[in-house]
């Protein structure tokens, strides 16, 4: 009989193979993360939850500690499959947090039923030995809580869109960079509710995702103008608000935006235009980053130049970074599914979603 404690690293694969169904799901998610086949943060988050749910429902575990170690090990493997997709790590930590909370609640219930005092259970301290305790009903409790998390993710756009009218006034000129599902839904919602405003989309070279964005906004009846990235500063003086897309929110209140985000945010700051980031809180990551290098991805230069041409340019290198770090002082407001938050409050939200012991998944 196999140990109920999940091994780490390569052994995890063998351990999981006891349950072919889960193992297949695990392999396929790992592969698609490695090959970057999952587009967008939200699908990534949802698929991670699905997998962890299946793991929890199928694999062998008896105590919270055991369950957490399974989740951590699987989560670590997923994070390693694509370290730049911070959302995966967020979801794993969120589920660990849920397990801790459920365990605490259930344990409290058990103690109360036994008539013992709950005084030994201080608010912040589930000591390791308490997690070792087996409590009845933990599995259903955790599953329910995860179901709520899934519901939260399903509704994330709706919740954000509810706020659209509060932040867009009539005749407003909004600038956005590149393409973002969240920003797009946000603006479309405002337009659907008959708010008349104008959007300027910077095309965001080299992938020119801004075009798709503009097309979709125009189709929703919004007056849309496409500009090249070089015109961002020139046009900024007449913009009322900048909506930044977001790849990840980080613990210091900064954000990881698609390349070009920093430039736009800085131009806005210089001209005193408010910079607003519209995003779901599932992108809030308990990691700290301080510069452009720490979290970035250098993409293929083929977007900049054709390979054949580089043969003629022996002295030239080509750089195509994917992301920008936007420091917190450049962002004025985060509009999230739990409402608007100011930048320097974000660290406080971390405490509501993650447990500090889980920041490392090792």
């Amino acid at each position: 009989m196999k140990s109920s404690v999940a091994p780490s690293g390569k052994d995890l694969d063998a351990w999981l193979s006891t349950w072919p169904h889960v193992h297949g799901q695990y392999r396929s998610l790992i592969t698609s993360l490695q090959r970057r086949k999952v587009a967008g943060s939200l699908p990534c988050a949802k698929m991670t939850i699905e997998l962890l749910k299946a793991v929890m429902g199928t694999c062998r575990w008896t105590t919270a500690a055991e369950l957490m170690s399974v989740v951590k090990r699987v989560g670590k493997a997923l994070v390693d499959a694509q370290p730049l997709q911070l959302v995966v790590g967020n979801v794993v930590r969120r589920i660990l947090f849920i397990i801790r909370e459920e365990h605490k609640t259930k344990l409290r219930e058990v103690r109360a039923r036994e008539g013992g005092s709950t005084a030994s259970l201080s608010d912040d301290g589930e000591a390791g030995n308490e997690l070792e305790a087996s409590v009845p009903g933990l599995r259903t409790g955790v599953m329910e809580a995860i179901g709520e998390l899934q519901l939260e993710l399903d509704n994330v756009y709706n919740e954000i869109c509810e706020l659209a009218l509060e932040h867009i006034h009539a005749n407003e000129v909004i600038l956005t960079v590149g393409r973002s599902k969240t920003v797009e839904t946000f603006l479309r919602e405002a337009a659907e509710r008959r708010r008349a405003f104008e959007v300027i989309v910077a095309e965001s070279a080299p992938d020119i995702a801004g075009r798709e964005m503009a097309k979709s906004l125009a189709a929703a009846g919004i007056e849309t103008t496409v500009i090249s990235d070089s015109a961002v500063y020139a046009i900024m003086a007449r913009v009322n608000q900048v909506l930044l897309p977001c790849r990840a929110l980080i613990a210091n209140g900064g954000l990881i935006a698609p390349c070009g985000g920093h430039m736009a945010a800085l131009a806005a700051k210089e001209l005193s235009v408010p910079v607003v980031c519209v995003t779901g809180l599932f992108k809030l990551s308990p990691v700290y980053r301080h510069d452009q290098d720490a979290f970035n991805d250098l993409r293929s230069p083929s977007a900049l130049i054709e390979y054949a041409d580089t043969q003629l340019l022996p002295e030239a290198d080509f750089l195509n970074p994917a992301y920008d770090y936007v420091p917190p002082e450049l962002v004025d407001l985060y509009i999230t599914n739990t409402g608007g938050h100011q930048t320097f409050y974000l660290y406080r939200l971390l405490g509501e979603y993650y447990h500090h012991d889980d920041s490392s998944l090792d």
Binding site: A205, K215, V226, S230, C259, G260, L266, N296, D309, D317
Partner: protein, 519 residues
């Protein structure tokens, strides 16, 4: 090496202006270099080189005939010397060459790249020279590129981009006509090249001008120049530097000695133009490059944006001085001028890195100097330059890197401006529809653009017209960099802080050409 080629090509341009008028597009360093055998193919945009190949490969004679029906310049008929005649032929060749090279399918890879770079606009502009010269009636059909509903409200006070349907008047000098077409299709780009080419074309006009009986030369010549100037403006709104040059030329004509005979007066104007081009542009750029190159030291990482003539000269000069430095070439759509700079740096064995404007934040921390070109230096210390310059300068300031602007003094203007909107140039909106960077730009992938349904091979005008109803495109050419981002302005008369621009302006207005500044 490269530097010599530059100077020869430039001095040739300025000294034997009439000879090389057809090749005016070649007066910029990159094109001069690109005629060397090692020139990479992808940077072909804007040079007039393809015409030779194309014509050899058999442009149809009808087309050549159709596109070459030069209207003789006013009074140019009788007096035209052999040299001028040759020049006119060259001018004709140029335009027909450009026309045919764009129309002949399956040219060399070089022409291919030219065609694809101007991919969407080519469809529309391609007709330019033809219908302009041949079928006058067609010109009525030339609608605006953007329907009025597609006009950007904020920029509606500026001349909107249209397909330059200016009918050629019979009294236009062919050199001006040719130049106008070169302006319109972007073959001649950049303040220096445009101004020099314009002045040299005016020189031809002046040289062939004949005083009608009973007129005063200094009044009539000015009147004769006006339609030429207007025609050029219709082809592409002139830059501030060109405006300065026009103002200077007209002032020069007005101040002609009334006692002098017509031949003598014309000769003095011709000489003055030569001197202006030589001193204010060619020599100024060279001196400027020399001064700026001294600012580059070993180990520097120099960030440059787009392709500025003086910046390019500076980098090549610094290399020639044996400096060891690295260049970061920042480029932006839609023009992607930086590619030609990259090619020229590569040929000069200067290690360089090419990146997009969006990625500047990523590299700025490692940069030691930022060198930028200028279209006009305003007297409130602001700089007007190619769109995107302001962002680069702003980021430089943010990262505490000096942003050095290279500006010849003839670009100094007594205008003041606070934003990039009051004065700007609205470019061809269809340029924004060009396919993305590498893959699209050098290959014919018409489907790559995503704003419309896939309709391969349709003209740019249809393309913009077929945009979704509420979708507009804005392609502005310039932006204004406020004084706070300008660390230093280097001119041919020395280095000044931006606050001193009005001082230099005052000094130079005292003494027309020679500014005596210590440096």
């Amino acid at each position: 090496m490269g530097d010599d080629e530059l100077s020869t090509s430039l001095s040739e341009m300025s000294l034997t202006g009439s000879r090389s008028l057809g090749g005016i597009g070649d007066d910029r360093p990159g094109s001069a270099l690109s005629s060397s055998p090692a020139s990479p193919g992808f940077v072909g945009k804007g040079t007039l080189r393809p015409k030779h190949k194309q014509q050899q490969s058999g442009a149809s004679p009808t087309r050549v005939r159709k596109s070459s029906s030069p209207k003789s310049g006013k009074g140019g008929g009788g007096k035209a010397s052999g040299g001028v005649k040759e020049d006119r032929n060259r001018g004709r060749d140029v335009s027909s060459g450009t026309t045919t090279s764009r129309n002949t399918p399956g040219g060399s890879s070089r022409c291919e790249s030219e065609r694809t770079q101007g991919h969407f606009s080519a469809g529309a502009k391609r007709q330019g020279p033809q219908s302009h010269r041949g079928a006058r009636a067609e010109s009525e059909d030339w609608g605006r590129h953007q329907a009025p509903s597609k006009m950007i409200h904020l920029f509606s006070h500026l001349p909107q981009y249209s397909k330059r349907s200016t009918q050629s008047k019979s009294d236009l000098h062919p050199a001006i006509e040719t130049l106008g077409l070169l302006y319109a299709d972007g073959s001649v780009r950049g303040s220096n090249a445009r101004t020099a080419a314009m002045l040299l074309a005016f020189k031809e006009v002046v040289r062939e001008y004949q005083l009608p009986p009973g007129e005063v030369l200094r009044l009539d010549l000015d009147k004769a120049l006006k339609p030429h100037i207007q025609y050029l403006i219709n082809c592409r709104p002139h830059s501030i530097a060109m405006g300065n040059a026009i103002k200077w030329l007209r002032g020069r004509i007005h101040s002609l000695d009334p006692e002098a005979g017509p031949a003598e007066a014309k000769e003095s104007i011709v000489e003055a133009i030569d001197a202006y081009v030589e001193e204010r542009i060619t020599f100024a750029a060279k001196t400027l490059a020399e001064v700026t190159a001294n600012k580059i030291s070993d180990g520097d990482v120099v960030l440059v944006y787009g392709r500025s003539y003086s910046v390019e000269l500076t980098l090549l000069r610094a290399k020639a001085q044996g400096k060891k430095f690295r260049v970061l070439v920042v480029d932006s759509r839609p023009l992607l001028e930086g590619r030609r700079l990259l090619a020229s740096l590569s040929r000069a064995s200067i290690p360089s890195t090419y990146l997009n404007l969006n990625a500047v934040s990523y590299v700025m921390r490692g940069v030691s100097k930022v060198l930028l070109g200028v279209a006009a230096m305003l007297s409130n210390g602001a700089v007007i330059s190619r769109a995107g310059t302001a962002v680069v300068a702003m980021l430089a300031r943010r990262f505490n890197i000096p942003a050095i602007f290279c500006c010849e003094t003839y670009k100094f203007s007594d205008k003041v401006q606070l934003d990039s909107i009051c004065w700007n140039e609205v470019g061809d909106p269809a340029e924004l529809l060009r396919p993305a960077g590498g893959r699209g730009a050098t290959r014919q992938v018409e489907q790559a653009h995503s704003l419309q349904e896939d309709k391969p091979g349709i003209a740019a005008s249809e393309l913009t017209a077929s945009l979704p109803q509420r979708l507009k495109l804005l392609n502005i050419r310039y932006d204004l960099t406020p004084m706070k981002y300008v660390s230093l302005v280097i001119t041919e008369v020395g280095m000044i802080p931006p606050t001193s621009v009005p001082v230099l302006l005052r000094e130079s207005s005292k003494d027309d050409v020679n500014v005596n500044f210590e440096f």
